[in-house]
Symmetry: C2
Subunit: 352 residues, 2 copies
């Protein structure tokens, strides 16, 4: 790394450090969550999130790196929509719409572009969310910039910074499946022992993740989208974020922002059966904690509310641990077979 | 152009045709203006616009094309902010904030990225508009994706589709200066005969355009941002858009969307004196009509309102013509020296 500031390159810094340097251009208190919150109206906050996805960095349609092909254009679209809607879900916001900024090389087949849009709309339609605008331009590299926006009542915003000691930590579904699916796509020769349905399940988890907007109605009392059996009575406090960068990352980020710690119980991490049947428990645990892109929610709630939520959800939802006053984030083993392990941010130096 | 649809490439289509194909993925009525309008609240519409700018396509910082250098990173930021705020101004919307999606090669100097952000905030601060979020990622090419959003009362939205025969067409300021400034930047050897102040004025017009949000207070009665001498009484009708793609393009687009025509008077086109002192009147007229990036507003208003607006504005604001029932958009010469000319969209096939 160069000591001369004027010669410092972005590759010397990494994504997180660069983002931190750029935060001084943003008003305090607005950044630091999955999405920004703007007060536009006394009863309604506007929530905005933006993501840039670059061919051969975040996906491979085989244009920038011929032969490396893990994502069809349709899946690129689906995943981009899912990632942004997941950020809205993580803030407790109901989606209003997205904009799409697409840049592409001149030789890109038009059908690919249309397939990207088909993937976007296929994911968005589940949540009645429109594409409300866009820009298309020439570029040497296929790039998709999505901005999603939604709205939420000010007292129902889910933030990373409000977890309190004693809260239960809920993971809303299986973790590790997306990373396992990527492995199968990158190395088609592996996993021959998997059943066809396990294989399909893992690959689908990677290609067609579902943002957990379905969780919000349980958490939002007295809202147009609230579920009849809404679990909370206002004013209730929920801390949380999504697990797009892995379950460990989500728990550590929430703890950092809330200035608390956590004890996470190894045996409670929801690892999908298909994964357990394929790889070692150690590998499965690594992918569950650090694989990322499962797009589940990680929520910190009072124990009774957490218990009720997990009972209403299916497919791997679990209370995985407890928020503690002590700042460490520990992976513990109640059975005593494994030593305590400190959970860390895996993705601190990425994308440059 | 290929006849086989599956082999059609985006370069065979061009930007406009591709955008048109993609509009079927958007709800009807939402696209077609400078920005999208979403009803989020009975008293308040959300206005959203998005732009993608690519190095060596929309600007040249000298990274993608060494030696071709027309834009400093600070100016890239300023211009990106200005273009997006101009889209909001064109819709009558007060800005709320922008998001920034930045992708850059690893070898990009960190100071450049910071300068882009400085340029963005320098332009935004004039209008108390924050950067509320962003994403930073690795890419082979420097790309800036901006999404800007603002709000406007539903009855005060300025659309392209509401011009009526008899309306006066107002250009809010000089046209052609930005294109002239670009010429000076691309060919430093030309324009030696220009005075230093003329030269600076033209280059500034290109590098530091100002979105005309200052016009809105005159047009918005009974709004928090309305000017004491607001010219309109509700409900009033304004059609308009910005002149980012040129004055001719703006007039033609408004006429198409409103299913009307226009007669534009050659002698009324506001060409800056610095330009008149430099190039032939024919060249100046070409740049004023088709040069683009002046980021003025082109508004269609009742004659009396238009007259009052022009009197309140300075620096080249003018009534340039009249909306007609006949669908032609004609550039006429009242003095009879030049034959009538049909104005056309210059930018129909661009950016691929």
């Amino acid at each position: 790394m160069s000591n001369d500031l004027s010669r410092l390159k972005v590759q010397d810094l990494g994504e997180q450090a660069l983002l931190q340097r750029l935060q001084r251009f943003c008003p305090e208190g607005i950044v630091g969550d999955d999405a920004a919150v703007l007060q536009t109206h006394p009863q309604l906050d506007l929530v905005i999130t933006t993501d840039v996805l670059v061919d051969a960095v975040h996906f491979s349609v085989g244009l920038a790196s011929p032969g490396v092909y893990t994502t069809s254009p349709t899946d690129v679209g689906w995943r981009a929509a899912a990632a942004n809607l997941s950020d809205l879900a993580a803030m407790g916001a109901a989606p209003l719409g997205i904009t799409v900024g697409l840049s592409a090389p001149g030789e890109t087949p038009v059908v690919w572009i249309e397939q990207i849009y088909q993937g976007l709309t296929a994911c968005l339609q589940q949540f009645n969310t429109p594409i409300v605008g866009g820009d298309v331009t020439r570029s040497p590299i296929l790039t998709l910039a999505i901005t999603a926006f939604g709205q939420v009542a000010p007292h129902q915003v889910i933030r990373r910074s409000t977890a309190q000691p004693g809260d239960a930590i809920v993971a809303t579904g299986w973790h590790g499946a997306s990373r396992a699916g990527l492995e199968l796509l990158l190395h088609p020769e592996v996993g021959q022992e998997l059943s066809e349905s396990d294989r399909t399940y893992l690959i689908q988890a990677h290609q067609r993740p579902n943002p957990r907007l379905d969780i919000l109605p349980y958490l939002l009392p007295s809202s147009p989208i609230s579920h009849p059996s809404s679990l909370l009575s206002p004013p209730s406090r929920i801390a949380g974020m999504d697990s797009s960068d892995g379950l460990a990352d989500a728990i550590v980020q929430i703890c950092r922002m809330s200035r608390v710690g956590a004890r996470v119980e190894r045996s409670q991490i929801p690892i999908p059966p298909a994964l357990t049947r394929w790889v070692s428990s150690e590998q499965a645990m690594q992918w569950a904690l650090y694989g990322g892109e499962d797009f589940e929610l990680v929520l910190c709630l009072e124990q009774a509310v957490a218990q009720a939520l997990v009972e209403q959800l299916e497919l791997g939802a679990a209370i995985v641990g407890t928020i503690t006053k002590e700042p460490e984030v520990l992976l513990i083993d109640a059975a005593g077979h494994e030593p305590d392990e400190t959970l860390a941010l895996q993705k601190g130096f990425q994308h440059f």
